[in-house]
């Protein structure tokens, strides 16, 4: 076999790895400066402010067009999620009732929880 130093696949992977490390380290240095923080937060702040204003404007527009707005759709999604979680709770309760019923009908068929008697392996060996 060709030794690993000559293997183009290994050379390629090493190169990618080194480039990744180099770029990450360079970027981390740049991102560690107060200037970066200022610029990033300025841009983020503008984006959040603009997003809020645009959202309010769109909401008014959709109301005037007699269309559901995002907040109304989110409201509907929330109600659906709430129905889903109630269904989950009902399912959990039904499972519990089912287990209790099968316990009552045939105790042998039900799987009881294992006893809480386990000791760590080292302790067992010492006994």
């Amino acid at each position: 076999m060709a030794d690993k130093g000559n293997d183009p696949a290994v050379i390629w992977q090493t190169m990618i790895g080194e480039m990744e490390k180099g770029f990450n380290s360079f970027a981390n240095q740049a991102m560690g400066t107060p200037e970066f923080s200022r610029l990033m937060n300025q841009a983020g702040g503008f984006a959040a402010g603009a997003q809020k204003q645009l959202g309010e404007l769109m909401e008014r527009y959709l109301v005037s067009m007699n269309l559901p707005s995002r907040s109304q759709l989110v409201g509907m999604a929330e109600r659906l999620q709430s129905i889903e979680s109630q269904l989950n709770e009902i399912r959990a309760l039904l499972n519990q009732m089912n287990r209790s019923a099968s316990n009552a009908e045939s105790p042998a068929a039900a799987k009881p929880r294992p006893p809480r008697t386990k000791r760590p392996p080292g302790e067992k060996e010492q006994k």
Partner: protein, 360 residues
């Protein structure tokens, strides 16, 4: 003729043949990759004990013939889903614990809804965790409960333990848990109080959007996503590599939003004022000093953790009031510490040997 280069003709032919085969495999598997979904994750059988808003409490069905007396409650980080600890059979931390005879519960989080933006730190520490602990006690019939917290789940567990100092927490295990937030240098710079107006952001968006959280994680290693995609293409012929890539990639991008007020407290009390480290933290008016924690504690940290660097985690063990305390530094990163091949041979056996003898 080939001797001077140290390569023989047969090996070149073999290499070319192997590369051609891989290229063909890449094309076939590449199409397969795009047309199929990844492996099913988080499938260890469990029952939902309780669901309330963002809080989900699961109980995993025991598989051992006998189990340890003390049940274990895992508190997941609020930014990510709990299935990182329950990947596929053979690579699931939960399955490992069940097979070793632990009775396992998990407090996992769902995305907080817009109307839950007012959930604050006190809801998590003084309500959700105590509620889950009570339910674990009721379900298991045991008063003692061991708690395992991963990343920020560890911070929440520390806050809980330092406030509820008289129990019922019997043991505490933290995985990669930061307490000195000054040392999370990039996060600290991103949230520099001179430039980051957290109130304005949260007032605008309600809950902290998951896209912003994911971007801030990815900014810690900006080249890594592109490099991992190149690696995926290189290894797409390798089913095991692809399966593992899909599991971790899906989890890493499945980030949760954070409740608005909770995020405000994290930023102001932890990132800005470093209150946990400075013994000045309080939740809902109740002091949360690490020295109040007296239970046995194990802290596992990763050597190459880029999210929670060792410097941010290293004071935990010295600051808690426990006499039975241990820190282990293991090879790996923030995620590979707890999941995947590295965790199977390093963290999991260590945790089992530490926790087993404290669970009777």
């Amino acid at each position: 003729m080939n001797a001077p280069l140290g390569i023989d003709a047969a090996s070149i032919a073999e290499r070319v043949q192997s590369e051609v085969q891989r290229a063909i495999q890449r094309s076939i598997k590449g199409v397969e990759y795009l047309s199929t979904s990844g492996p099913s994750l988080g499938s260890t059988p469990k029952d939902i004990l309780h669901v309330r808003g963002t809080m989900n409490l699961y109980h995993y069905r025991p598989v051992a013939d006998e189990i340890y007396r003390v049940p274990v409650l895992i508190v997941m980080a609020t930014t990510n889903r709990g299935y990182i600890l329950d990947l596929v059979p053979g690579q699931s931390f939960i399955e490992f614990l069940l097979k070793r005879g632990y009775d396992v519960y998990m407090l996992d989080w769902a995305a907080p809804k817009p109307e839950e933006k007012h959930l604050g730190m006190e809801d998590y520490v003084l309500d959700f965790i105590p509620d889950c602990v009570r339910r674990v006690q009721q379900d298991s019939g045991e008063m003692d409960v061991s708690v395992i917290g991963y990343c920020f789940g560890g911070v929440l567990s520390l806050l809980y333990g330092s406030i509820f100092r008289d129990g019922p927490m019997k043991n505490l295990i933290c995985f990669t848990t930061p307490i000195d937030f000054r040392e999370m240098k990039l996060f600290s710079n991103f949230s520099d109080r001179r430039y980051f107006d957290v109130d304005r952001l949260i007032d605008s968006v309600g809950n902290m959007p998951p896209e912003l959280i994911l971007s801030s994680f990815e900014m810690l290693r900006p080249a890594s996503r592109a490099a991992s995609q190149v690696q995926l293409w290189d290894n797409i012929w390798n089913d095991e590599f692809v399966k593992s890539y899909r599991m971790f990639d899906r989890w890493a991008t499945d980030t949760l939003p954070l409740a608005g007020d909770y995020f405000r407290t994290i930023t102001k009390d932890l990132m800005w004022d470093n209150k946990l480290y400075n013994d000045a933290m309080s939740v809902g008016g109740r002091a949360a000093k690490l020295e109040n924690i007296k239970v046995p504690i194990l802290h596992a940290v990763a050597e190459h953790d880029h999210i929670v660097p060792y410097e941010a985690a290293r004071h935990l063990i010295t600051k808690v009031g426990s006499t039975d305390k241990e820190e282990v530094i293991l090879k790996g990163g923030h995620v590979s510490l707890v999941a995947g091949a590295n965790a199977i041979k390093r963290l999991w056996p260590k945790l089992d040997s530490w926790l087993g003898k404290r669970s009777t």
